[in-house]
Amino acid sequence: MDIVVLGLSHKTAPIEIRERLHISESKLPEALERLGTCEYLLERMTLSTCNRVETYAVVDDLEGARRSMVEFMADRHQLPRESFEPSLYLLTGDEAIRHVFRVASSLDAMVVGEAQILGQVKTAYGIARAQDATGVILNNLMETAFHVAKRVRTETGIAASAVSIPTAAIELARKIFGDLKGRAVMLIGAGKMSELSAKHLLADGVGAVIVANRNFDRAVELAERFKGRPVRYDAAKADMVRADIIISSTGAPHQILTKADLEQIIVQRRNRPIFLIDIAVPRDIDPAANEIDNVYLYDIDDLEGVVQANLRERLREAERAEVLIDREVSKFARWLGSLTVVPTIVAMRKKVESIREEELRRALARLPDLTPEERQAVSSLTSAIVNKILHDPMTELRRQSALEDGHLYVDVLRRLFAIKDE
């Protein structure tokens, strides 16, 4: 009986293959149902995201289970096995456990530390559990994985700093202005990057959005989208005094803001700091403006530099996360090992024996006038009672452990008799 991971991810297969094996959320229950007809799969769940399709299972025949799962995939998606089989990986034992923990903690993701995967794993698990496709082992594995993911997120810095240009811009804005509430943003020009940044800023509580565009209609349209105010392009400079953050991405072939312009603006703002994000190529704003006190100017390369530096830190933190995960894998593997019968029977006997001895001692202490033969008889009595009571359960347990649901019996016994892990 073993834990198994079978699947493919962005690390082993390109999108063309992944997309063909994708199972949408609504189709998952039916897929799990069909997978359940395979006799070798005792427990199962499937995770299907844009970057991976994996099945986590508890099996008692590795080769049989693998064959069934691959056949299922080929059959369901009407694909020849050769088209995807080379991209598949099959992990067992500790490696399987480690993989599940790493995936949930976003260490196996395209961008380490990304936040979506944990929710996706939880959803996939919820669906599998709702139709009883999982059992004791997978349930414990997944619950532990979520706990590990939480530890990784809080105890390491893998998700701490910004790794995309818009979020890096927000991070910088926060380090300049502290709280972004009530701040004013001006968008000059338009473009995906600037709109994304504006969206993030709004989500962070920015107060006002001013939109300037050569094309006034476009300005009006954008302003509506961001619940802001449009201004005429030529009049924009007057409004700049009001803006704490300016995102510039016009298609202009020349600079629209010179150092002198900014010197004037900062004086009019009475030295309240201003953060300029110049996403345009060629650049809209004179780079020399960064030399002005209280003016902070970042162009697209600068922002990319910040992102790279943060990514490097993430990777360093990922190493610490791996150490944390290693320890958790060992812990889980120990629990799994304890589920086999023999240690349980031994522990059980030990516990019962210590109870017997203690009670015998107490009883004999209250009967000081017994002869040695009588003491022997009392002792034999306790042994006989204990052995007779334990006989049937132990026999049945040994019998069941050879069958497929044996670990369930072991687990229940451990819980009922409060037998702790060694």
């Binding site: 701490a160 380090k175 202005f177 502290g178 009475r270 309240r272 700091p273 209280n294 970042y298 530096a309």
Partner: protein, 269 residues
């Protein structure tokens, strides 16, 4: 006995400093909390030591060593108050080492009292000492805040944000802190100078004795008045204000220590 407590307090402050500096370089939330705890423990012992000293001596600090010890205490006090207000323990990384420096210098200097000039025995002196002590502590805090501001500003201007960038608070917070500290320090300094003048008058008959310390304190006062005015009215914000705060603090340091060591006068310690 109280000397032992002081040394223990110094040790705790030192341990706290190491914790604070460590938290700047490594990602360990525990370090920051531990450092805060150590700093508070050090402060508690420090308070106890000074309380015992005051009870035994019954007079304000009479020499440079004693004065520095009180100054270190006042700085720690002002800092702990801001920790509550600003919820950013990182500021401690800069203030507590300063406290260590002050207390260590205090411990290293001779403890002898040269002469207790008569003024040291009345209630007016207490007021004067406490006011100037707290005022100077506030300026120390403003200096630390300004220093951190300059560090963070350099990080942002360089476009290569490093570890410090993430650990230090925002420019706004540091600027606000600096401003708050100046706004507290200046009135305290003003009252300190006034009480000093009144004291001088009641003791020697003149408001201004023109001794080194007094002159420098007046110069410092004018400096901070200009700085505060510039901040409030002239839009002196950011880098310029930060540098001036640091210069002002150097003036404070000189007024307290240098003026004594270099120029003899009525403030003889």
């Amino acid at each position: 006995m109280e000397l032992g407590l002081l040394y223990l307090a110094l040790l705790l402050y030192l341990a706290a400093s190491l914790g604070y500096l460590g938290s700047l370089t490594a990602r360990q939330p525990m370090l920051l909390r531990a450092a805060g705890l150590l700093a508070r423990s050090g402060f508690a012992l420090h308070t106890l030591a000074l309380a015992i000293y005051l009870y035994q001596q019954g007079r304000p600090p009479g020499n440079l060593s004693e004065w520095l010890s009180f100054y270190a205490w006042a700085t720690a006090l002002v800092y702990l108050a801001t920790e509550v207000r600003y919820e950013s323990k990182v500021i401690g990384s800069f203030v507590i080492p300063l406290v260590v420096l002050l207390l260590a210098t205090s411990a290293a200097l001779p403890k002898t009292i040269e002469s207790l000039t008569p003024p040291l025995r009345n209630i007016g002196v207490w007021a004067h000492v406490i006011l100037t002590l707290l005022g100077n502590a506030a300026f120390a805090l403003a200096c630390c805040g300004a220093f951190m501001y300059l560090l963070q500003e350099r990080q942002l201007k360089s476009k290569q944000p490093g570890l410090l960038f993430h650990r230090l608070p925002s420019l706004k917070l540091l600027d606000d802190l600096c401003h708050l500290a100046l706004s507290l320090g200046f009135p305290l300094l003003t009252l300190g100078l006034l009480s000093g003048a009144l004291l001088a008058h009641s003791t020697w008959g003149t408001f201004v004795t023109w001794d080194g310390k007094q002159i420098w304190s007046i110069i410092t006062w004018v400096f901070y008045a200009a700085l505060l005015h510039g901040r409030l009215v002239g839009g002196w914000r950011g880098r310029k204000a930060a540098i001036l705060s640091i210069i002002g603090f150097c003036g404070v340091v000189f007024a307290s220590l240098g003026a004594n060591l270099v120029i003899r006068g009525t403030h003889a310690f």
